[in-house]
C-alpha cells in the first residue's frame, strides 16, 4: 500500500476534476461522489499508517523529475514517514467527517451550489494531502499556495456577501505577504544547499555543509511563511475574519488542517531549525506570545465562531511553543488531538448557528435542553480543550507543558499555564452562556440537527475523548516513539520525567480554576463582572487590541497613498514630460510654419534682412 500512497491525494483530485467537468449539474451526485472519494482516501491512509508503523523502515520516498534549469533539478515527490502518515490520517478523517456533516448543514440554505462546495473541498483535500506528503520545498510551496487558494474560495463561498468577499481577500493577501518570506527562504535554500529535497538538505546539514548562521536565516524566513498560514502574531488578523465562511469550512480549513500547515512546515524542516541556533527560540516565543495574546482576546468575544477562532490561534501558538522548546513530538501530538476536538467544537457551533440563525452567544441560552446531542458534544470538546483528564487535550497539553518545563524556558512554561487557565475560562463561558440558563431569543425555535450532522459530531467526540491515549503511558507513549525527531547526533534530550507530577498539578489546578471561574460568573452568576467592562483594558482586549485599525493606519493607508502617488507621478511627471516634448515640437512646427507664408514678397524681405545682417556682421568683424 505504501508504494501506492500517491492514490491518497489523487482520489480527491480526480473527484475535483469529475465534479468540475461532468457532474456539476447533479448536486447530490457530486456530494456523494466526494464523500465516497474521501472515504477511500481515509481507508488507504489508515492502511499506510499501519504498514509504516509495522515496517522497520523510517521513510519511503517517491519522486518524479519536474523540470531542469541550469544547475537546478526540480522534482515533484512524496515522502511517507511517520510525520506525514499521521497527518494524512488526520486530514482525511476530519475531511470525511466534515463532508458528511456539510450535507446536512448546507441543505438548510436555499439553492446551495453543492457541486461548487464539494469540488472546492475536494481540491482542498488534495492540496492539503499534497502538502503533507511533499518531499521537497517546491512541492510543498505549490500545495501551500493551493490550500491558500481553496481557503480563499471557501471563505468567500457566499460570494454575494460583501463581508465574505472582504474576508476571503484579506486571508489570501495576508498569507501571501508571509509567503513572500517563505519564497525568499526557498530561494536561499536553493542557493546555499543546491537542492530542494528535504532529505538531501538534512544530509547536508548533518555533514555540516551549511553554516549555522545561514541556517538560522533560512529557518526564520521559512518560519515567516509558517506564521502566515498558522496565523501567528503579527499575521493573525485574517483568521477571525475567515469565520465568514460556512462553519464546516471553518472546522476543516481554519481549525483542523490548513492552519496547522505552518506547524507542520516547521516540523517538516525541523533539522534546519534545530541546527540554526536561535531559530527555535524565535518559534517558541512567537508561539508563546500568540498563545497568550489570542487567548486573552477570546475571553471577551461575543460571536461563538470568533471565540473558537481565537482559541484556534492560541492553540496553534501552543504547538509552535512546543516545537520551539524542542518538543517535536509534543507539538505534533497536540496538533493531532487539537484537530479532532477543535473540528468537533466548530461543528457543534455550526449546529447551534444552524438552529439559531445567529452567531451571538447572548442570543442563545438554554439550548442544552433543546439540542442535547449538540450540547453534550460541545461540552466534551470544551473539556478536551481545557485539558481535563483523561480526554485527548489533557495528554497533549501535558506533553507540551512538560516539554516547556524540561527545556528550562520558564517564561514559556508560565505563559503556557496562564494560557491554559484562560482557555478553560473562555470555553466554559461559551458552554454556560450557550447551553445553560434560559432562552433569550424567543422568536427562534431551535431544534436538534439531523443525523447527518450529529453522527460526525459523535464520532469526533469519541475521538476527542480517546485520541489522547495514543500518547499516554497506558499505550507506552506510542505517539512520542513513532513521531520523533531524529537530530542526527544521538543523546537528544527527550522529556526526562523529573517534575512530571509538579507540572501536572499546576496545569490541572489552572484548568480547575478556569472552569470554576466560568461557572461562578456565567453559570450561577455569583460574581458580576460588569464593572470590568468599563475599564480601559477591557476595551482594548474587546477590540482585539485594535490591530485591524493599527494595520489600517500604518500599512493600508500609506500603501494606498503610495499607489495614488505613483499614478500621479506616472501621469503628471513621466507622461507630462512626454506630452511636453510633443507640445514643444508641435509648437516649434507651427511657429516655423507661420514663417512659410507662401508670399514671395515676404521671402524677399526676409532674404534682404538676412543679407543686411550678414553684411553688418562682416563689416563689424572685418
Amino acid at each position: 500500500m505504501i508504494n501506492n500512497a500517491w492514490l491518497v491525494p489523487a482520489i480527491p483530485f480526480i473527484v475535483f476534476m469529475t465534479i468540475t467537468f461532468f457532474t456539476k449539474r447533479f448536486k447530490n451526485l457530486s456530494s456523494w461522489l466526494s464523500i465516497a472519494g474521501i472515504l477511500a482516501s481515509f481507508s488507504m491512509a489508515c492502511v499506510i499508517l499501519r504498514e509504516l508503523s509495522m515496517s522497520g523502515q523510517r521513510h519511503y520516498e517517491f519522486s518524479l523529475p519536474w523540470f531542469e534549469s541550469g544547475e537546478f533539478q526540480l522534482e515533484m515527490g512524496m515522502l511517507v514517514d511517520p510525520l506525514s502518515s499521521i497527518m494524512m490520517v488526520v486530514v482525511t478523517l476530519v475531511s470525511l467527517m466534515i463532508q458528511v456533516y456539510s450535507r446536512g448543514y448546507l441543505s438548510a440554505e436555499k439553492n446551495v451550489d453543492f457541486s461548487r462546495y464539494y469540488s472546492f473541498i475536494s481540491l482542498f483535500t488534495f492540496s492539503m494531502l499534497g502538502l503533507v506528503l511533499a518531499n521537497n520545498f517546491i512541492t510543498i510551496f505549490a500545495c501551500w499556495e493551493l490550500v491558500g487558494l481553496c481557503s480563499y474560495l471557501l471563505i468567500g463561498f457566499w460570494h454575494h456577501k460583501p463581508s465574505a468577499a472582504a474576508a476571503a481577500k484579506k486571508a489570501f493577501i495576508i498569507t501571501r505577504l508571509a509567503d513572500a518570506g517563505f519564497l525568499i527562504g526557498i530561494l536561499c535554500v536553493g542557493f546555499y544547499a543546491g537542492t530542494f529535497n528535504f532529505l538531501n538538505i538534512e544530509g547536508l546539514i548533518h555533514e555540516g555543509q551549511i553554516s549555522s548562521q545561514i541556517l538560522t536565516i533560512m529557518a526564520v524566513l521559512i518560519f515567516i511563511g509558517a506564521m502566515g498560514k498558522s496565523a501567528q502574531f503579527p499575521f493573525h488578523t485574517w483568521l477571525p475574519d475567515a469565520m465568514e465562511g460556512p462553519s464546516p469550512v471553518s472546522a476543516l480549513i481554519h481549525a483542523a488542517t490548513m492552519v496547522v500547515a505552518g506547524v507542520y512546515l516547521v516540523a517538516r524542516t525541523y533539522t534546519m531549525f534545530d541546527a540554526g541556533p536561535n531559530a527555535l527560540l524565535v518559534v517558541g516565543y512567537v508561539g508563546g506570545f500568540t498563545a497568550l495574546f489570542a487567548a486573552s482576546i477570546g475571553l471577551c468575544q461575543n460571536d461563538i465562531k470568533r471565540v473558537l477562532a481565537y482559541s484556534t490561534l492560541s492553540q496553534l501558538g501552543y504547538m509552535m511553543l512546543a516545537l520551539g522548546v524542542g518538543g517535536f513530538s509534543a507539538g505534533m501530538f497536540h496538533l493531532t488531538t487539537h484537530a479532532f476536538f477543535k473540528a468537533l467544537l466548530f461543528l457543534a457551533a455550526g449546529s447551534v448557528i444552524h438552529a439559531m440563525h445567529s452567531n451571538n452567544i447572548w442570543d442563545m441560552g438554554g439550548l442544552g435542553k433543546k439540542m442535547p446531542i449538540t450540547a453534550i458534544v460541545f461540552i466534551i470538546g470544551s473539556l478536551a480543550i481545557a485539558g481535563v483528564p483523561p480526554l485527548a487535550g489533557f495528554w497533549s497539553k501535558e506533553t507540551v507543558l512538560m516539554a516547556a518545563y524540561s527545556s528550562g524556558h520558564m517564561l514559556l512554561f508560565i505563559i503556557g499555564e496562564i494560557g491554559a487557565l484562560m482557555t478553560a475560562f473562555y470555553m466554559f463561558r461559551l458552554c454556560f452562556v450557550t447551553f445553560g440558563g434560559e432562552t433569550r431569543k424567543h422568536d427562534a425555535h431551535p431544534h436538534e440537527s439531523p443525523w447527518v450532522m450529529t453522527i460526525p459530531m459523535c464520532i469526533l467526540a469519541f475521538l476527542a475523548i480517546t485520541a489522547g491515549f495514543i500518547g499516554s503511558p497506558y499505550l507506552n507513549d506510542w505517539f512520542q516513539g513513532f513521531v520523533c525527531f531524529d537530530s542526527g547526533h544521538a543523546a537528544h534530550h527527550r522529556g526526562e520525567h523529573s517534575g512530571h507530577q509538579l507540572v501536572m498539578i499546576i496545569s490541572l489546578s489552572m484548568t480547575g480554576i478556569g472552569i470554576l471561574g466560568a461557572w461562578l460568573v456565567y453559570g450561577i452568576k455569583a460574581i458580576n463582572l460588569d464593572f470590568v467592562k468599563k475599564t480601559f483594558i477591557y476595551k482594548l482586549v474587546f477590540n482585539k487590541y485594535f490591530f485591524d485599525e493599527i494595520y489600517d493606519v500604518i500599512i493600508v493607508k500609506p500603501f494606498v497613498g503610495l499607489t495614488k502617488f505613483s499614478v500621479g507621478f506616472d501621469q503628471g511627471v513621466i507622461d507630462g514630460m512626454v506630452n511636453g516634448v510633443a507640445t514643444v515640437t508641435a509648437g516649434c512646427g507651427s511657429f516655423v510654419r507661420r514663417i512659410q507664408t507662401g508670399l514671395v514678397q515676404s521671402y524677399i524681405l526676409a532674404m534682404m534682412v538676412g543679407i543686411i545682417i550678414l553684411l553688418v556682421i562682416w563689416m563689424w568683424g572685418g
Partner: protein, 492 residues
Amino acid sequence: MNFPILSWMIFIPLIGAMLILCTPKGMEKTIKGLALVFSFIPLVLAGMVYANFNPKIADLQFVEKILWIPIFNIHYFVGLDGISISIFLLTALLTFLSVLISCNITKRVKEYFMLFLVLEVGMLGVFVAIDLFLFYIFWEVVLIPMYFLIGVWGGPRRRYAAIKFVLYTVAGSLIMLIGILCVYFTSNPHTMDILELSKTCTFAREFQNIMFFLFFIGFAVKVPIWPFHTWLPDAHTEAPTAASVILACILLKMGVYGFLRISFPIFPEAAIYFAYPFAVLGVINIIYGALTAMAQNDLKKMIAYSSISHMGFCLIAMSALTVTGINGAVVQMFTHGAVTGSLFMLVGVIYDRAHTRNIDEFSGLWQKMPIYTGLMTLAVLASLGLPGLAGFIGEFVCLMGTFVSTFPGFKLLAILSTSGVVITAVYLLWMMERVFWRGLNPKWEHLTDINKRELLAIIPILIVIILIGICPDLLVNLMNVSTIQMVKGIMP
C-alpha cells in the same frame, strides 16, 4: 529537413492578406474565413516545427540562408533555437486566436483582417530573423499594421494613442537603426549576421557600451522599460481587444527577445557592465508597475500596468546572466504572453457586453456569468503566480535565476522583486472582489454568460496555461541547452 518551413510560415499570412485584398468588400464571411484559414495554416506548421525541433541542439535549427543583397553582404537568414522557439510558437497560436476573437468586428472588415495577417508576417519574422537587416525590416513591418489597428478600430482616444505608440516606437527603432549601421560598418568584414557578430567579432569595450545603449533605447521602448512605458497603457486601452492581445503577448516580447538575441550575445562585456542599472530598472518596473496598476479603474489599464510589472521579472532575470536567469526570462516571456493574452480576451468579452471597463461600475457579476467568472479567476490566479498555473513557473525561475547570480547585491534585488508578487495579488484580488463578488448591481441584470465562439478562443490558451503550470518541462526543456551555450558565450 529541406522543406523551408519557417519561410512558409512567415509568408503564408502574406498570401492570405493578398487574397483578402482581392476579395470584394461585401463578402465579409469569405474574408473572415480566409483570415481564419490563413492564420490557421501557420499554426499547423508551428505544430510541425514543435514536433521536429530537437531540444538537445543548442544551435539554430530549420536554418534557411540565402544571399539576398550581395553588395552589402546581407542574407535572408532565418532559423530557430531554444531562445526563440517558444515565443515563435506562441505567436502563431495567439494570432489565430485573436483572429477568432475578432470575428465580431463590423467596421471595415476587409482592411482589419488584411492588416492582421500582415502583422503576423512581421511578428513571426522578427523571431526567426538572424540577420540584422532582416530583423529590422520585420521589426518595422509590425509597426504599421498595429498603428492602423489602434488608430482605426480603437476606442474614443484612438488617434492620440496610435500616434503616441508610433512616435515612441519609431524613435526607438531609428536609434536602433543607427546602432545596426554602426555595428555593420565597424565589423570586419562588414556583416549583418547576428551569429557571426556574436561569435567572431569582438568589439572594443567603449564601442560595445555605446552600441548596447543605442539598442537598449530601441528595445526598451518595446518592453517597455520604465520610464519609456507611458505609450503602453494608452495603446492598450484604446486598441481593439485582439490588438491588445497581440500588443501584450507578442509586441512586448520583441523587446526582451531583442536583448537576448542581439544585445547580450554581440555586446557581452557591455551586458556585464550594464547589469546593475539594467536590474535596477527591472525592479522599478516590477514595483512601480504593480503600484500604478493598483490604483487603476479601467480593467485594461490595470492589466497594461501589470504587464509592465511582469516584464520587470524578465529584465531582472536577464541581467543576472545566469542560465536559470535567462531561462526565466524566456519562460516569463512565454507565460506572461499566454496569461495576459487570456486576460485581455476576457476583458474584451465583458466590454462587448457592458460597453464599459470601469471596475467601480461592476459588482456581483458572478451571479450572472458563472462560467466567465471561473475563467477569469483562473487567468487572474495565473497572473498572480499561483503554482500549478503558468505564471508561477515564470516568476519562480526568474527569481531563482536572479538569486543565484554571482553579481553581489542581486540577492537583495531578488528579495525586493518578491514584493511585486504580493502587490500583484492585492490589486488582482481587489479587482475580482469589486467586479465579480458582492451583490449584483441591478444595472447588469441583462448580461449573458460567455458564448461559444469566445470560449473557443479562450479555452486553448487556458489549456496552455494549465499545461505549462503542471508540466513546465514542456517549455523549459526547449531552451535549456541553448541558454547554457549563450551564457557560456557571455560570462567568461
